[in-house]
Symmetry: C2
Subunit: 322 residues, 2 copies
């Protein structure tokens, strides 16, 4: 368990329940973060159903619960294999509609956990896409930057990168690219991994890493977002001829995949008329910003913990505290 | 060791040394296949350098060697980590140039093995691509269908699918798509694998499997060969909503990846003016033919063992027998 802050209890307990990590915040009665903790009890690591979730919550934040006015959770706690299935709200949907759609699950006799539902989006052909946890980050984003709720393309890099369209206070639609997972698969399990420095090896100087990344983006953009299976084999062929150093091969691969994702989107008006909003971990957002810049597109980066801000906003709207 | 045929010895010993399997044929003095064998001593499974290759050859075909006029090998025996590095001949190149570029390696005091080199192709931007073994299949293809040497787009499905252009007896250029490897990675190691029936489970009826495959191709074609990272996540989302049965999810995934590869190529004149030539395993060629047909393109399938035919042709040209 990792813990920062400390001091008096009370207010709100907020949980971002990821697949591999559980993050917890205690808000004071004034809506400020008083303490932050995390543990490795991600939803995919919990066996045993609801009792395992209750135990994981008590392990990370048991001492906060007695005095909390409310407990709220987003993410995989609400999945079909989570604490309780919170379902999906279909998009287009108002972000203000989420509090009323939360589901309640008891945690012992005195505590109720309010779980935020996910969101379902269908494309023009009816194919489904889902998010669970990112909707709360979007609420947090519009809490810290209200103007974005009126119109923004929000890209949320990670294992499964979300592209979400906000308009007039609504989450209009979104799609998911499994770019981060493809990178991990190719980095660890493919024929390409043999041509790359091991994950623990000394890293290349930052300038060389970024140069390789930019080259990968350029190759993917030149192919117009097509031909990814061919470009990926190029990582191997370049390695065979010493035209790609093992230390920067992962950066080139990252550039190919992020470049393919960005080039696949083209550059519609919604991307040219205003900055693309990037939400996520700082270093990864910086890479997406570089890939967008190669297409002449601007980015606005939000790498602050928006899940916490979103949970506080949703809890306030639901009357869970303050 | 697997063996078919039998009878008197003599003639040529021909080896197709793949990464995971070693295939061996004995040709009689008239150039006919007298016997075929194979073993699991693929190049990637051999530790110990040249002595390990010699031992593997003797294990699968030791009794053929005494009376053989010549021994020839293509594939990974000629890689940098193989029996002896046979290098790469740069394309464009005449297929007739290969015999003179073979390298010799001794196998005991009385036997010499002639190893076929690979081929190197560079695209317009100078990026390298390589083949090793497929050049011999192309020689075999032009042996059984001489007219194709004058002009053909040859697609060779597999782990790493080659797209090779033949013109006026020359291998003009080629590129590689690691489509088969992507399928295996996603099938076995990704988040998608959880939504698929295990590899050993009962298979769906063929009609349902092909319907799912065709749907995957259609989705990839509709996206114009772009957005593969988004389409892949769709496998997961459809599975969550019971809109894709686990038994046919691998077929849909296969359709997405093959469709992406074919749609990425577009349909240039070389694909519209004459049938695309498919070389490889029958069931996989049939899937590529379906994907091409969805784009209105014709295919000519060659699923016979062209490596054997190519090795015999190269050995004859080099004066190794007959």
């Amino acid at each position: 368990m990792v813990s920062t802050g400390g001091g008096a209890s009370g207010g709100l307990v907020a949980l971002d329940w990821g697949s591999t990590r559980l993050r917890a915040w205690r808000f004071d009665a004034d809506g400020r973060i008083a303490e932050a903790r995390s543990s490795g009890d991600g939803a995919s690591r919990l066996q045993g159903g609801p009792p395992a979730f209750e135990a994981a919550l008590r392990a990370v934040a048991g001492d906060w619960l007695a005095d909390a006015r409310g407990v709220i959770a987003c993410g995989m706690a609400g999945s079909a294999h989570g604490w309780r299935d919170a379902g999906y709200v279909p998009a287009p949907m108002s972000l203000d509609a989420l509090p009323a759609r939360m589901v309640q699950v008891p945690c012992g006799p005195d505590v109720t956990v309010h779980i935020v539902p996910g969101v379902l989006s269908r494309d023009a052909s009816g194919a489904p896409d889902v998010m669970r946890g990112e909707e709360t980050q979007l609420v947090g984003l519009t809490a810290v930057r209200p103007a974005l709720a009126q119109g923004a393309l929000v890209v949320m890099p990670g294992t499964h990168c979300k592209w979400a369209r906000l308009q007039d206070g609504r989450l209009v639609s979104f799609s998911t690219a499994m770019t981060g997972e493809l990178f991990a698969l190719l980095r660890e399990h493919s024929v390409l991994s043999r041509l790359m420095a091991p994950a623990g090896a000394p890293q290349a100087p930052q300038a060389q890493a970024l140069e390789a990344f930019d080259r990968g983006v350029a190759d993917a953009v030149r192919a117009g977002g097509r031909e990814i299976a061919r470009l990926l084999f190029g990582v191997r062929a370049r390695g065979l001829f010493d035209e790609l150093a093992p230390a920067v091969a992962p950066d080139y691969l990252s550039g190919l995949l992020i470049g393919n994702e960005v080039a696949s989107a083209g550059a519609p008006a919604e991307m040219r008329d205003r900055p693309v909003v990037l939400v996520g971990e700082a270093a990864l957002c910086a890479r997406y910003a570089r890939a967008l810049a190669q297409q002449g597109l601007q980015a606005e980066v939000h790498d602050e913990p928006l899940a916490a801000a979103g949970l506080a906003r949703l809890a306030g709207a639901a009357g869970l505290y303050a």
